[in-house]
Symmetry: C2
DNA sequence: TGAAGAAACGTAAACGTTTGCAGGCCCTTT
DNA sequence: AAAGGGCCTGCAAACGTTTACGTTTCTTCA
């Protein structure tokens, strides 16, 4: 278990350990043949280097903290995937922290990351309140918010144009002849407010009557969508399409509709938001608005690394564009 | 950005920094009132502690490396989720490393973790070959393998009884009257060999004729399953049920069947393996064999922490039991 | 009252690196 | 041949903790 250190290698090579360090760090302050000899020796001796000691003196860990609410969630795991890839290609590793189940945990996790000396934090906030909670840490460490739109807060974040997304979907439904479209879902967080705004804009533009079915669940899941939809469908269905604020909700609606024999898309059209992998599954085949997950993750990492490496001070709000993904749950109204 | 150190606090408190350290570490070598005073002061000054320095002297990082092939994969992200929860409850953090795309990367990642001084490694190996590759590192750091069955290798792992899983499924199909069951999928890795073995055992027991449709794709995905199934269905369908070696494959089969108008479960029964979240989705509703993901992750973490904290030397092969999850894709044969 | 022992706190070494500074050698130049 | 200048390499400090050991003060009991 005893690992080999710089000193061991130095002794074996008959040089000082500073020389070994230089040989490995790619410094130009060293002779070519000496370097080669040392590098070879390190290999043979199985020297791996000690990142902790290194971090100690360089005050840099090449580690970035990724804080997400529930990695098991499809959307989060995709973000994590792309963030990890992109960070690794730049020489950084990811420390994964789940911020479940509540805001207190989220704050705890951020505090912990501070002590761990990660170089920066990438965080998918649980709610707008996160921002308040984290206010005091913001100047202690580079931080980039991901996915949630923080509106005009003076902090960097990358998000998607949520209202435009809903608008795109509405446009699509309108072009299919739908004139009575129900908006289904949460309206609490900024993200969801914006999505609802896009809906309202579209209604105004196309001269439609806005109709809402509000969820007050703090998290949108299939189950929550299902229960709300059961309730919804117990009343007369006098609309031809439903815009679900998330794919999860859409799946819940689909389940409820299937159960009561309401056919999608024959009887009613359905469109979601997010484009989680499940939406592309056979039989599900959900028409939806795509969040550019890879782009978001990559951009957020770029932003964070820019702050870390160049000490960039100001902040950027990067809003990516969503896209309509046409699948099988929307149909021309008869 | 300058963070406050032990020394700063010590100066402010008028004590030596050893005293501050003791006040925080819960040592009993310190007076009650002094401790309280110092703890309060740390709070006020915003002292977070420096985990790197701490790790340096304690030779312990309270960090465990989690190596998975592609976290975006549903199964992996669930494992990661439970592993993170369970590790955190024991005071450890997770360093997430994707071992994509090949074995070389996997080895690179493990090497990197060694240098990072994680206390242990939890790894979901890409293939049995991983074990060979990693042989030389095994005695340098506690390591536990997860999910893949390494048979009788002298290393700790937690896996699921794969052959029993298939057997359970076969039993179910048999009880529904199926006498002609096709096994569909990979047979390369140990895991998949064992699943196929369970199939063969059941065939022997029930007096059935084994029939295979082999995939030589190195990874089972919906797409791969779909393409293979298209090919399969171009020939006459003279079996009443398909046992897919993974849920992903089953979903591919489902897609292909839907396309050619082969009805599931009316015309043919389908059963998968893994119980990924997608299997429970409305419309999919796949009957499958469940891997106890939470149990696996939790056990693996326990095992690893036991090695780390108690220096437990030997190795354990823990094989958990799978369970049949009855949903809607299997039906009594007419 | 005095000595022994415990409790509280300070001192300093150690962990394994990186890096500024200084010194030594050799080569070039005048 | 002497001086100057590069190129290598070594020395030692520094990073922020923990902890063994030593010292001082306080308690306690004979």
């Amino acid at each position: 278990m005893k690992s080999v250190t710089l000193k061991d290698v130095a002794k074996a090579a008959g040089v000082s350990y500073a020389t070994v360090s230089r040989a490995l760090s790619g410094s130009n302050q060293i002779g070519k043949d000496t370097r080669e000899r040392i590098v070879r020796l390190c290999d043979e001796m199985g020297y791996t280097g000690n990142y902790v000691a290194r971090s100690m003196v360089r005050k840099k860990t090449d580690l970035i903290g990724l804080v997400v609410p529930a990695i098991e969630n499809e959307f989060m795991s995709q973000l994590a995937y792309y963030a990890e890839m992109s960070a690794r290609s730049r020489g950084y590793n990811i420390m994964l922290c789940d911020s479940e189940p509540d805001l207190r945990q989220e704050e705890k996790v951020v505090k912990l990351l501070l002590g761990r000396m990660v170089d920066g934090i990438l965080i998918v906030p649980q709610s707008p309140a996160t921002y308040e909670k984290l206010g005091s840490y913001l100047d202690q460490i580079p931080m980039v918010f991901l996915s949630e739109n923080l509106r005009d807060q003076p902090q960097s974040y990358v998000s998607v144009d949520n209202s435009r997304g809903t608008y795109l979907g509405m446009e699509h439904l309108y072009s299919l002849g739908h004139r009575n479209i129900l908006y289904f879902g949460r309206r609490d967080s900024t993200t969801h407010q914006l999505r609802a705004e896009g809906y309202l804009q579209a209604c105004r533009k196309f001269g439609l009557e806005p109709r809402f079915c509000n969820s007050d669940f703090p998290r949108s899941s299939i189950e929550n969508g299902y229960h709300l939809a059961r309730e919804l469908f117990s009343k007369p269905v006098d609309y031809t399409a439903i815009f679900a604020s998330t794919d999860s909700n859409a799946l819940g609606i689909m389940k409820a509709a299937d159960e009561i024999g309401l056919r999608i898309p024959e009887d009613i059209s359905l469109i979601g938001f997010d484009d989680i992998p499940s939406a592309a599954l056979p039989r599900i085949d959900l028409t939806t608005i795509q969040q550019p997950k890879k782009g978001m993750a990559v951009q957020a990492v770029e932003m964070l690394l820019d702050k870390i490496e160049n000490g960039t001070q100001g902040y950027i709000h990067q809003i990516l564009l969503p896209a309509l993904v046409q699948r099988g749950t929307c149909r021309q109204v008869r």
